[in-house]
Amino acid sequence: MADRKISIFVEEVCRVEGHGNIVLNATDGKIEELRLEITESPRLFEAFMLGRRWDEATHIACRICGICSIAHSTASVLAIEDAFGIEPSEQTIALRKIAYHGEMIQSHVLHFYYLAAPDFLGVPSVIPLIQSHPEEVKRALRLKRLGNDLCKLIVGRHIHPCAYLPKCMPKLPDPAAMEALHTRCLDARRDLDAAVALFSTLKLPDFDRPTECLASWDPDEYGMYRAVKIKSSNGDMTDTREYKTKIREFVVPHSHAKHAETENGAYMVGALARFKINYDQLHPKAKEVAQALGLTTDCTNPYAITVAQVVETVHSLEETIKYLEWCLGRELEWEDWDVKPRAGRGVGITEAPRGLLIHDYTFDDGGKLTNVNCIIPTNQNLNNIEHDFHALVPQIIERPDDEIRLLLEMLVRAYDPCISCATHMLKVEIKR
């Protein structure tokens, strides 16, 4: 193909949360420009959290993101508890995990059904699927609503919890409502079986690029709700308070969102990273599903993130059932909310649906914030996405523009980026 000039500009990639552009310019198969531009307006959270009381931190920070506000709230209360030396009770943790897994279910279902599946089924959005795949759409709605209702049961709302506090839950859920949700969770197993059947027929684009992965690690369970350490796919462990020794964030000119790297360069976080790192602790039912979908821990295809989300949804559903049964099996006890602030630093690390999420707070003796740093999953993935672009484009450069464009968009969507989060724009370093 002589003198072929490719110029692809995807303005505001659709079916991702937030505003990002893909830029590709190439002449005769030689890439001149290739990047993912983040154009979302910066929101400057760090600047306005400074100087505020500890009890305002969680509800402000969760406004960074509407899709994963429970994950942000979780990281935030974990950071506050770490700073103030608070150990929440087993009951509080069980209740939080019901909401936490509820968000995981709703977010993964939203992504794999509404945002990613249309690409595989060759339609522009979920809307035509209402006609062509009505049962699938109803199933998706049902699963997503289950996730929302689990959040609602515990913290009142899935987008920006009404009350998610350090130390204890300020309201105990009604046993009858828990019972009803437990039944719905058992029924949801069938819906998920059907989702697995659908996804087993979809074919992922061929592409592989090995990269380092990072995820939360907990000795007692599949790392999600709380990281005891950060674990790398190469086996390295990092203490939560020492995360900066592993992760470095930096600014690039074409993006309103920071990028990140480890000593090994770009890395991946999210469902596939967790799956690869913590596979052994996955629920046996989720392992079966992984096998049925052909997903293995040596997978290096980023398009498979969507498949890992299906697997994790099964895991989160089983965890939810377990914690609901735990709560239903006893009389829940009222706990008093008496938080005593003290000076010091606290780090809270959890897994948002899109990956490792870090909140790092420092308080003075009055419990006012003197330093805030948050590291967001999408920021960490951006660098990796661009590295994927550079590996993928030479392999597909001979194909028609439309196909190249679709494959690049699908790749961005596979990471399920949450660009509003990524442009919360906290303190930055300059790369020279």
């Binding site: 079916r15 929101r43 402000i60 960074i64 509407g66 009142g156 724009m425």
Partner: protein, 257 residues
């Protein structure tokens, strides 16, 4: 009759409010029978160049780009309906107005700040006229459905003009001040069913204030309960920094006249 054509756009926000439309799961399929979504970047790839009957926008105006963007949307929309606190009163985004723009950039970006476009945060109605506003962070899905129904029927929707405390007492909640929490219920606009106190937390006035809030009295209550004046101001500011400044500016204007 052809279905009304609807679209959803986002500016500076967490996009939680456009997501809240998808949250109307049970009703979503019914809604889709009555309106046709023609553009919604978060959820679909389809786009349109035709005029749109009803446009929902979440997010504040916070860059020069946002100003151009919302003006373009206004031209295409028969009805423009800002959804959520970001779009209606600036929400937490407007907290950055409390800093000088250069200072805010410096805190956040250090030397790299120069490359970013940021201006004081404003709600949509401060830039273009709007037909109706749906408050809340996030907006309440039931209220959204009710208001959309009214707008499509040509009725004028209403928002309550009494404080959250009224709804809270109706629900017989224990007042959270008793638990040592600080609540904005007495000055906040109701309509959410006092959601936060009902789940054991405190109200932060995410729906803005009632029309004539008794700010002074509430200011004193919060101080009596132990907040310093600076802390009281920070509480008032969380969701209403823009609203407070705007009211102040208008009062000054009136004085001059």
């Amino acid at each position: 009759m052809a279905k009304p054509r609807a679209a959803v756009f986002s500016m500076t926000s967490c996009e939680g409010c456009s997501l809240a439309i998808l949250e109307c799961e049970n009703e979503l399929l019914d809604v889709l029978e009555h309106v046709e979504f023609v553009e919604w970047r978060e959820a679909m790839s389809e786009k349109t160049t035709e005029p749109i009957d009803i446009v929902f926008v979440d997010g504040s105006v916070s860059t020069h780009h946002d100003i151009k963007y919302i003006k373009r949307i206004r031209e295409r929309a028969r009805m423009l309906v800002p959804i959520g606190a970001c779009a209606v009163n600036g929400s937490v985004n407007a907290l950055k107005n409390r800093y000088g723009m250069n200072e805010a950039k410096e805190i956040v970006y250090g030397e790299a700040g120069a490359q970013f476009d940021t201006i004081p945060v404003r709600p949509i109605r401060a830039v273009v006229p709007v037909e109706f506003e749906i408050p809340g962070c996030p907006m309440n899905s039931e209220e959204f459905l009710r208001i959309v129904r009214d707008l499509l029927l040509g009725k004028k929707p209403r928002l309550p003009n009494y404080p959250v405390c009224v709804e809270c007492k109706r629900k017989e909640n224990v007042c959270v001040f008793e638990k040592g929490m600080f609540c904005m219920g007495p000055v906040a606009r109701a309509g959410c069913g006092a959601d936060c106190p009902s789940y054991g937390g405190w109200c932060e006035a995410c729906r803005g204030f009632v029309d004539n809030p008794n700010e002074q009295a509430h200011w004193e209550v919060l101080q009596e309960r132990g907040l310093t004046p600076e802390e009281v101001m920070q509480r008032f500011d969380i969701f209403c920094a823009w609203e407070i400044e705007d009211r102040r500016a208008r009062a000054q204007q009136e004085k001059k006249e």
